[in-house]
């Protein structure tokens, strides 16, 4: 029996990391009886280990809450949790498009952050009704009036009736539920007997059921046993099960207009259940598809190589399995003289890269080397051909290149004004173009246009360090722009080391080259001869360091018993040698690559 759409509310919570989104979600579930106290785990919605650890949500989660309002009416509230981070902005916008309203949660002490802005604008863009909620009102540092004014000034939405709550203590939770019921609109009343029209909001892989599809019903009714068609791909499936999340999976007979739930239909790959697709009934299809979403495009690339070459097959297995569950992660095989066999992978952003890398290491137990992240360059050849390049190793001969264009982003940075100088310098150093500088209270809001390749290279870490962690940062891609870009090679003892080459702006090449040479000088163990370490553009050396020769490597005392000890040491060294890469006469330990390629500057 489907619920009357007038008694359904579909909503999201948008917030900056740490502003209490997950705690509020937990409270809502608890108060409405979704889980007993015993079943209640901390932050149940973030159920991936990694998500919980980092306090972020990557895949959208959803939960259905039953609420009897103060007016005595029973309501079904569907909370669709959204990822908080910019890398997953695409997932945010599609989660939001399954809702009619959103709670904007702002920390009453910290105020508006860059991510808050990005997410709330995404909500405004899809016409959601927004209810501002000031959380952590119990903190001594809470300044609800200042934050209210800030929401109105910076975001530009009405905030005088913002709710004041503490998700931690439970203060004001009932008011939140009442606001959801009375201030957010009900979904449009679709015809339950019309042909099925449902939006595929998200999909993920479940080891037991195959692909699970999160769906929002617009018209018609979705029932177990129904034969459905995914209109985008044209594939048909038998619906094995229909259900809702409370937050555990509960099977139901059917889902009607305005409702949100899941279906499983023995779909094997996440790629087959394309997010944004329209689901209809095979024998009685709907006349038109829902608008759907633009596909997510990878913007950051890097090579992933197993530390131990013998683990390559394990790595292949792991990336293939990960890709099953993450359609936005792409990969292709790559070979490097330094690092052996691996994969060139594409990601939505740096956090996505980090998350994938960590999942590979943690869930699949493969030790990885990550090469320097790169972006997509558009290279116009002299013959007019345009190629996309994201691996410096594939850079064509410069004489055949007409122009190179690099991706630029629009970055929004919010920072307490005492750190403004440092941030301005950082952005200028990274070839940024200032577009806006405004103040909201004691915080500055900066808008810069920046080349993405300067951002993927340790920008977050630098930003964090110049602002002692008080800045918040968000960005969106704007366009490719021509630039004076060159390939910088790194030579160790005159031998080029492919894994370390990178594409840089000519104006930044010397600095980046010097940084890399200095780093390598500390990372490469000394040999019995001195080793020049150089950065070069074409044949021209732009930076150079010399690693001095080792002066001695000799044990003073060596007696009979030492023979066994020396042999054990030899075994250890021989084992260590397997983790070395040979470049001419120089052995570079794998750790040196890992450290040299680490994105953080120091």
């Amino acid at each position: 029996m489907s619920t009357n759409p007038a008694n359904i509310r579909n909503f999201s919570i948008v917030a900056h990391i740490d502003h209490g989104k997950s705690t509020l979600a937990d409270r809502l579930i608890q108060v409405t009886g979704g889980l007993t106290e015993r079943e209640m785990k901390e932050q149940v919605l973030d159920n991936m280990e990694l998500e919980r650890e980092r306090g972020i949500t990557i895949k959208a989660q959803t939960v259905r809450l039953d609420y009897t309002a103060r007016n005595g009416e029973k309501y079904v509230l569907n909370l669709i949790d959204t990822p908080g981070h910019v890398d997953f902005a695409y997932e945010v916008s599609r989660s939001l498009s399954a809702c009619e309203g959103a709670l904007l949660v702002v920390d009453a002490a910290q105020g508006v952050e860059a991510q808050t802005l990005a997410n709330v604008y995404a909500a405004i863009e899809v016409d959601l009704e927004i209810v501002p909620v000031l959380n952590k009102i119990d903190l001594p540092a809470a300044e609800p009036d200042r934050v209210r004014a800030q929401i109105e000034d910076v975001i530009g939405i009405e905030a005088h009736d913002a709710l004041e709550i503490s998700a931690k203590t439970g203060l004001g939770i009932e008011d939140v539920l009442e606001a959801i019921v009375h201030r957010l609109p009900a979904p449009p009343a679709g015809d339950p007997d019309a042909p099925l029209k449902a939006l595929l909001v998200d999909s993920w892989y479940d080891a037991y059921l195959g692909v699970i599809c999160l769906v929002r019903i617009h018209e018609g009714t979705l029932k177990k046993g129904m034969r459905v068609r995914l209109m985008g791909t044209g594939a048909n499936y038998n619906v094995d099960g229909v259900g809702v999340f409370r937050p555990t999976k509960i099977n139901v007979d059917s889902l009607g207009p305005g409702e949100i739930g899941f279906l499983n239909a023995s779909i094997k790959q996440v790629r087959d259940a394309r997010v944004g697709d329209t689901i209809t009934e095979e024998k009685r299809p709907t006349s038109s598809m829902l608008p759907g979403f633009k596909p997510a495009i990878p913007v950051v690339f890097c090579g992933l190589f197993p530390v131990d070459a013998n683990d390559f097959e394990d790595l292949r297995d792991a990336v293939e399995r990960l890709a099953l569950n993450d359609a936005s992660f792409s990969f292709e095989m790559e070979t490097s003289a330094a690092l052996g066999f691996g994969f060139r992978c594409g990601f939505l952003g740096l956090l996505h890269l980090e998350v994938i890398r960590e999942r590979l290491e943690r869930e699949y137990d493969v030790d990885l080397i990550t090469t320097a992240p790169s972006v997509i360059y558009k290279i116009k050849m002299t013959d007019g051909e345009v190629i996309d390049l994201h691996n410096p190793a594939d850079m064509p001969d410069p004489v055949r290149i007409d122009t190179i264009a690099e991706p630029w982003i629009k970055a929004t940075i919010l920072v307490p004004d005492e750190y403004l100088g440092g941030v301005l310098k950082l952005c200028e150093d990274r070839r940024g173009i200032q577009k806006e500088l405004t103040y909201a209270g004691s915080r500055a809001m900066l808008v810069y246009e920046l080349p993405l390749n300067e951002v993927v290279f340790d920008f977050y870490d630098r930003l964090k360090s110049v602002t002692k962690g008080y800045a918040s940062f968000d960005y969106q891609f704007i366009e490719h722009r021509e630039g004076d870009l060159v390939k910088m090679s790194i030579l160790v003892n005159e031998e080029p080391v492919d894994a370390l080459s990178m594409i840089v702006h000519r104006a930044r090449a010397e600095m980046r080259g010097r940084g890399m040479c200095e780093k390598l000088k500390d990372l490469i163990p000394r040999h019995m001869f001195k080793i020049p370490i150089q950065a070069a553009i074409g044949g021209r050396v732009i930076a150079r360091e010399t690693l001095s020769a080792l002066r001695k490597d000799v044990t003073a005392k060596c007696y009979g018993g030492d023979a066994s000890r020396k042999r054990k040491l030899l075994d250890k060294q021989k084992a260590g040698k397997k983790k070395m890469r040979q470049f001419g006469r120089v052995e570079i330990p794998q750790e040196a690559f890992i450290a040299a390629l680490k994105m953080d500057g120091d």
Partner: protein
């Protein structure tokens, strides 16, 4: 000089007790707490008898008392060990019967020599009283020099042992100490760079930052200075840290270790090596570490004899053999183990002037001596 025949056999006696433990020492040592040493002596003698069954009838070319502090042994116990060795194996007429002497026991040296010892290495260590105190030694510089003088009056073959590249020691300091010892006209000098070994008090101090070892540059300069001064004084650097006036003064017992000869290790934690792959396998043995365990085991049949693989044996021979100026006998290595040094590594090292070699022999070139460990590791065969 005489090349020891494959039949040469040495006997090492490990006396694990010390009056106090030096903070740099990682040998198998125990503080003597007035413990009755008789059970250990009995165990040593019993252990020797067991080994006689392994070696069969062969004469000993050397007996060496190391430790610990073997100069703390009663002279009569030393005599019993030597007598037992004579009875079990027989001593070659010119056998080297050596003992490591701590200056604090200099008054006992006459008795020790009466017991049959004919070579003494005296642990002078330093001529700087403050440095000796920092090294945890129980004697001062005067005692060291006295001990050296007494030793030289008692036996013809004496070594002065020094420790250098100590924290706080300058190149000039070392030059002064070394020159003073050489001026005495010693015929053998062991000059060991202080090594911070894991698990020692010094290693803990380094970790805490209270001890800063000299920079590598300075240590290398000191090594080179040592080579120069000892050479000028007529002592040849016949091993990385050992210098002797002519072949006659070289340590014959240590030579067994460096050339991969045969030796029996008696006493707690002592190591032994007998035979080679070509003779049915090189036997390796390590005695129980703790004196109590050693004593308990000495009544049992000998166990824990391990047969090294041909590769392991070859690796040991390369790792030990490059330390001496004569270098490694490749012909012998091949015939004993079927392995040779790593040809590619050898070629590269030869091209860099770090080693000298022909088909029969490989040895460190002058510039290679400071890299002895690394070169040995590179040359050691691998599978």
């Amino acid at each position: 000089m005489s090349i020891s025949s494959p039949a040469a056999l040495g006997l090492y006696i490990h006396w694990p007790y010390c009056a106090r433990i030096c903070p740099y020492c990682d040998f198998n040592v125990y503080k003597a707490r007035g413990a009755d040493s008789a059970p250990l002596v009995e165990a040593l003698l019993a252990d020797m008898a067991r080994w006689r069954e392994v070696t069969g009838p062969r004469a000993l070319t050397s007996v060496h008392f190391g430790g610990g502090t073997p100069s703390l042994m009663e002279a009569r116990d030393i005599a019993r060990v030597l007598e037992t060795a004579e009875t079990l194996w027989g001593l070659e007429p010119d056998a080297e019967l050596g003992l490591e002497a701590n200056p604090a026991e200099r008054a006992r040296l006459a008795d020790i020599v009466s017991a049959g010892i004919n070579r003494l290495s005296v642990g002078v260590q330093s001529l700087d009283d403050a440095a000796l105190a920092r090294l945890g030694r129980d004697h001062d510089a005067r005692a060291g020099l006295d001990a050296l003088e007494i030793a030289r009056s008692l036996v013809a073959r004496v070594s002065a042992d020094l420790i250098y590249a100590r924290h706080g020691q300058s190149l000039k300091d070392w030059e002064g100490e070394l020159a003073a010892v050489l001026a005495l006209g010693v015929d053998h000098l062991s000059a060991y760079q202080l090594t911070i070994e894991d698990g020692t008090a010094f290693a803990r101090q380094v970790k805490r930052g209270t001890l800063v070892p000299p920079p590598e540059e300075l240590a290398a300069d000191m090594f080179e200075l040592t080579q120069g001064l000892t050479g000028a004084a007529g002592l040849e650097a016949y091993e990385i840290s050992n210098h002797a006036r002519g072949d006659a003064h070289r340590s014959r017992h240590n030579r067994l270790y460096w050339t991969g000869g045969d030796w029996i290790g008696i006493g707690p934690g002592a190591h032994g090596r007998i035979a080679s792959h070509a003779a049915g396998g090189r036997i390796a043995h390590a005695a129980p570490l703790r004196p109590a365990d050693y004593i308990a085991a000495s009544g049992q049949p000998l166990c824990g004899l391990e047969r090294l693989s041909a590769l392991e044996e070859a690796q040991e021979r390369v790792l030990m053999g490059l330390r001496i100026i004569d270098g490694l006998d490749r012909t012998r290595l091949r015939s004993l183990t079927g392995h040779d040094i790593d040809a590619n590594a050898a070629q590269a090292l030869h091209d860099d002037g770090l080693i000298a070699m022909d088909a029969a022999r490989v040895r460190l070139a002058q510039q290679g001596r400071l890299y002895a460990d690394r070169i040995a590791t590179m040359l050691a065969p691998d599978g």
